[in-house]
């Protein structure tokens, strides 16, 4: 079963999404990197529905909180992440399927560490249970 990872990446934190894609070596796992104006663009419902697509792991990369171009964006994204994890717990999906990293804008060495963290996390989690019952899962995540 082929797996898929979606990364929502703040464009200030990750100015070159192509470089992030290039770091990805797990060929059998599909990686999508979606540039966003700020990590706080991604709302809770979006994280949940992405998981329900289904996608096996969703990651958000934002800037260090004090460097956020929107001031409170990174901070708010953190709150959303916590909220999403709590919700996942309630519906019985591993909270670890969503994750978040904060970087100093333009720090490419940090990206390599993030990529290895993501692949490690994916390896330990395996495919999303929603892949076995996509409809039920999608409905649960869509609420």
């Amino acid at each position: 079963m082929s797996m898929e990872v979606v990364i929502y990446a703040c464009q200030q934190a990750v100015p070159d999404p192509e470089a992030l894609r290039a770091l990805w070596s797990a060929g059998e796992v599909r990686l999508r990197v979606l540039p966003e104006p700020c990590s706080s663009k991604v709302e809770v419902f979006q994280l949940l529905r992405t998981l329900g697509a289904p996608v096996d792991l969703v990651w958000v990369i934002g800037c260090e909180e004090q460097l956020c171009r929107f001031n409170e964006g990174s901070h708010r994204a953190g709150g959303r992440m916590a909220h999403t994890k709590k919700y996942l717990q309630e519906i019985g999906l591993e909270p670890a399927r969503v994750g978040r990293s904060l970087v100093t804008p333009g720090d490419e060495s940090a990206l390599a560490a993030i990529v290895s963290e993501i692949s490690g996390r994916l390896k330990s989690l395996g495919p999303s249970p929603l892949r076995r019952a996509p409809n039920a899962g999608a409905q649960a995540a869509a609420t």
């Binding site: 979606v6 929502y8 464009q11 999404p17 599909r30 999508r32 979606l34 540039p35 966003e36 104006p37 700020c38 706080s40 663009k41 709302e43 419902f45 979006q46 529905r49 992405t50 329900g52 697509a53 929107f70 409170e72 964006g73 708010r76 709150g79 959303r80």
Partner: protein
Amino acid sequence: MPAKYHIHVRQVPPRFSPLAKSTIIDWAEGCLRCATCVKEQCPVDAYRKRGFDRSQFVDTIDEMCRDCYRCVQGCPRELIFKAANPQYRQMGDAYWTPEILATTWYQAETGKIPVSGAGYGGPFAGPGFDSFWTDMSEIVRPTRDGIHGREYISTSVDLGRKPMFLTFDSNGELTWPSPPLLELPLPIILAEPPFAASPGGMQDIIIQAAGNLETLAILSRNRLGPVPEETAARLMPSYTAGSLDLDDPLLSQLRTLEILDHPEVLEQIEAVKRRYPKLIVSLKVPADGKVVERVAELTAAGAEVIHIFASEQARGLGDSQDLHLKDLIRRCHLRLVEDRLRDTVTLLVSGGLALAEHVAKAIICGADAVIVDLPLLLALECRLCRSCAKGGKCPVEIETLTVKRGAQRVINLIGAWNNQLLEIMGAMGMREVRRLRGEVGRAMFIEDLEKEIFAPLFANREVETIKREPN
């Protein structure tokens, strides 16, 4: 007068949420829960209707947003922002801009001419086709109402060799058979794009659209499957040098075909003509440094149709990369005028024709008709990620698009383009696209305007060297 040509456009909604230029950032947490929330006052009700496009992982609010900023400016805690959408900006490339993609999707969806208020928002001028303006007729010249159509404007063009004179025998009969001519009701020929997620499906879509539009479909002969008889008349198969087999049964069903230029091409045409005298042969010539000479040479040798092809960015090929297609067309056209052969041959051009105005402008520069390829792929919601060219997955799943739906989107796009051609010709007071060809006098080139108007005022002027005091 022939029956009025009409393209039947029909709304075909997109399958994927079109990416918007800017995006809404909504910080719902921290909300004061005002009695009348700005989100409820949204004039298009985007906050209520927003959904999630699960194939692209985007919030659909941005495609509905009309950029009024009332929510951004109204929220008492400033919890809503608009920001430029990086996903929009990264589409396409420097030539095939996100704006070109977005307007093409709109036209393929609606078949309508893009209309907007509040004047023009683009740059003063640009390279290539953006470096000249078309004329209009004022007050005293009779003009035409383009689309609303009280007066008929013909967009028909002919493909084939036109004799400079005719000779008759004593019975009044032509002494030699007139060469074959193919009339198309619009100066646009559809061609296979250089790449597509589903090349076979793309061919079927183009064939069907060409049939509906009564134009031709240029498809690579190598990739062409079996052809039913009724579609053969709409085909203009493209042959690479030396790949033409005279025993190919398809040849007897065709009206026209295209051969890539090569040193023995004239002999090959002769062989084709001997066996299939009704077949019109188009010669595909690269727009490189030798194109003007080659076009003149081939025309003098009796070529019927010449297809000049440029790069995807409307640039010349090889040693003429620095030249824009418009200049190469002008040079070829002018050379043929000087040789007094212009009217004998049909010039088709392709490469980088991306917007409706490029059709009119290429014709003004001297083409008889244009060949459109990439925009047909864009009409199918292509994001121009070129992932398919590298064997990757298509983000808008073009491989699952039905032929009917795809063809209608192509028809819509060409319908909108043809109406825009009518607008330009109507404004110029022209009745026929045949007469638009080479009419550079009805265009205003920036280099000429600068030379005639601004340079005498501002160039080489003795300006006193006055230094303003710092303040």
